[in-house]
């Protein structure tokens, strides 16, 4: 199946946001923030659910920083509410250059909401996750449809696959990043003290 382009994902996502917040889709632009459009916590839940069901994906339930803090341990990526240099480096890996400009100098954890709640951030996240959702069956080429839970099923031959969750993919990405950046020899013990 042809992968969805960023603008295709954006159009579909903008419709979801507009419907949930009861606003006109033209108000949703890549640079707007969901909270500026009026989204509160339950609206974000609703938008998450609708996005998951329309794109057949599972969005992570934590931000990449929170997942990374769980992997790296406390005080490595952020300390007392501020990103460390290691924390900034990790986030810059995930962030397009245009967004990175906002995070020079001292960066407080609360300021990251600006990035995490930006429409373009969600669109890229959805696009990235949708790559893991096949539209055609590997076995027979038939169309895949949503099945129970995290599963999809071929409507032709009945073959089932389990989808990857965003949380799991994020964790995997963080682990790989950790290995690449901080563990020069394969198999060396993981040690937070090795991180500059």
């Amino acid at each position: 199946m042809p992968e969805m382009t960023e603008s295709e994902v954006f159009d579909k996502f903008a419709q979801i946001v507009a419907k949930s917040l009861r606003i006109d889709a033209s108000q949703v632009t890549p640079d707007t923030h969901l909270t500026d459009l009026g989204a509160e916590s339950l609206d974000l839940i609703e938008i998450t659910m609708e996005t998951e069901s329309q794109f057949h994906i599972f969005l992570p339930d934590k931000s990449i920083l929170e997942t990374a803090v769980e992997v790296f341990g406390p005080d490595v990526l952020e300390k007392d509410g501020y990103l460390t240099e290691a924390g900034k480096r990790l986030l810059l890996q995930r962030m397009p250059e245009a967004d990175a400009h906002g995070f020079e100098g001292e960066v407080a954890v609360k300021d990251l909401q600006q990035y995490f709640l930006k429409v373009s951030t969600w669109v890229r996240m959805v696009q990235g996750l949708a790559k893991y959702t096949p539209s055609d069956c590997e076995a027979c080429g038939g169309p895949m449809v949503a099945s129970m839970g995290f599963r999809m099923k071929c409507s032709q031959c009945g073959q089932e696959i389990t989808l990857r969750s965003g949380e799991e993919l994020n964790r995997e990405w963080v682990r790989e990043y950790y290995d690449k950046e901080y563990r020069p020899q394969a198999g060396a013990p993981v040690s937070a003290t090795a991180i500059p």
Partner: protein
């Protein structure tokens, strides 16, 4: 008195509400707290801001990016929190401050912190702020070590199916037991309770929605019990196995939730004797100003002997729940007693508390019964 001050006393604009309507007031040591709600800003927003904000707050407010809505809500939240702090210090510290003597700015995690020219060391309240659809609520607690969190959600918007992602299957089972006409409101109260706990812990719901688990519900009392799970426990290991009590209330089109958790307070599993001792001591305190001169004994009857009235019973029940940080179905107990037109002894009350803290089996009460 400035514009804000005069507005404060106009009850149509601002009124205080106590989510712990059973009374934060009766627990001077364990929960000195005030919760205030503000509905809407005056038309002259800039002069209102000038009248309540400190210089640093004004700088922060003016530098806020984003749309007006966000700035308005921020201001609304400040108004509610400052009022809560003012009333709190008036009530418990006899300190009369104007809003601009109280500074409330976010720390690096985004949690509001109180300082300001009127705030003395040692009297620095813990605050929490929430806003939704033009209404803001501020909770202020006097004990500096307390964890405090507040939230509100509008009930006017019917939402479908968010429960499937917001709640754990165990929580959905609790919801399934609620009468259908109450289920939607209580789902919202549960959500609100989680948000309040998330705020009290200082990181919002960053551990994921399911890391905060509703495990107890007392509909008559408006109480919800929340326990931490998974990653949230890694960060707060001291809260393992503890039940956090969240007060919830519905007012017009909103549900509110508030939690005040004294750090170091332990969810106790006391023996029956300890419960009895606590109740006798508490009864002694409550009745010391009354006419009743006899010592309070286990067989003393609350209503006919000690002269309790129903409000006194509510005060006592609230104190017990606060003391043990555990909601218990007192409303049902009191209703049952009312129906049967009988009295309640301290001994019987002890059994009730013991059963709800320790379960019917395993407590020494059960053992005693067998003897």
């Amino acid at each position: 008195m400035n514009a804000f001050g005069s507005m404060l006393y106009d009850s149509s604009v601002m009124r205080a509400y106590t989510p712990a309507r059973y009374a934060v007031d009766v627990l001077p040591e364990s929960a000195r707290a005030v919760c205030c709600r503000v509905d809407g800003l005056p038309a002259e927003i800039n002069s209102f801001a000038d009248s309540i904000l400190t210089a640093a707050e004004r700088d922060y407010w003016q530098s806020m990016r984003g749309v007006d809505k966000r700035r308005h809500e921020w201001l609304l939240g400040r108004a509610a929190a400052k009022d809560a702090v003012r009333l709190l210090l008036e009530q418990y510290a006899d300190l009369w401050l104007s809003p601009d003597q109280i500074e409330i700015l976010p720390d690096a995690y985004g949690c509001p912190r109180v300082s300001g020219t009127g705030i003395r060391a040692g009297l620095q309240p813990v605050v929490s702020i929430a806003h939704s659809h033009g209404v803001a609520v501020g909770l202020a607690v006097l004990d500096p070590g307390a964890l405090a969190g507040v939230d509100l959600e509008g009930t006017f918007r019917h939402r479908e199916n968010y429960e499937s992602i917001a709640f754990h299957p165990d929580e959905r089972r609790i919801l399934a037991d609620i009468a259908p006409d109450l289920a939607e409101e209580w789902a919202l109260r549960m959500w609100c309770a989680k948000e309040a706990v998330g705020k009290a812990l200082g990181r919002g719901l960053s551990h994921g929605l399911l890391a905060l688990r509703i495990t107890h519900m007392d509909i008559a009392g408006g109480l919800l019990g929340v326990e931490l799970r998974d990653a949230a426990l890694d960060q707060f290991p001291e809260l393992r196995g503890k039940l956090l009590t969240v007060y919830t209330v519905r007012e017009s089109d909103f549900v509110f939730s508030a939690i005040i958790y004294q750090q170091g307070a332990v969810r106790m599993r006391p023996s029956r004797q300890e419960i009895l001792d606590y109740l006798l001591q508490k009864m002694g305190e409550l009745t010391q100003d009354w006419d009743y001169t006899e010592p309070v004994r286990p067989e003393s009857l609350l209503f006919s002997e000690l002269g309790f009235e129903s409000l006194d019973a509510v005060v006592l029940c609230t104190a017990i729940q606060e003391h043990y940080q555990t909601p218990m179905p007192f409303a049902e107990l009191l209703a049952e007693i009312g129906q049967q037109q009988r009295d309640l002894s301290i001994d019987e009350l002890t059994t009730f508390v013991d059963t709800h803290l320790n379960g019917p089996a395993g407590s020494d009460h059960a053992t005693r019964r067998l003897q």
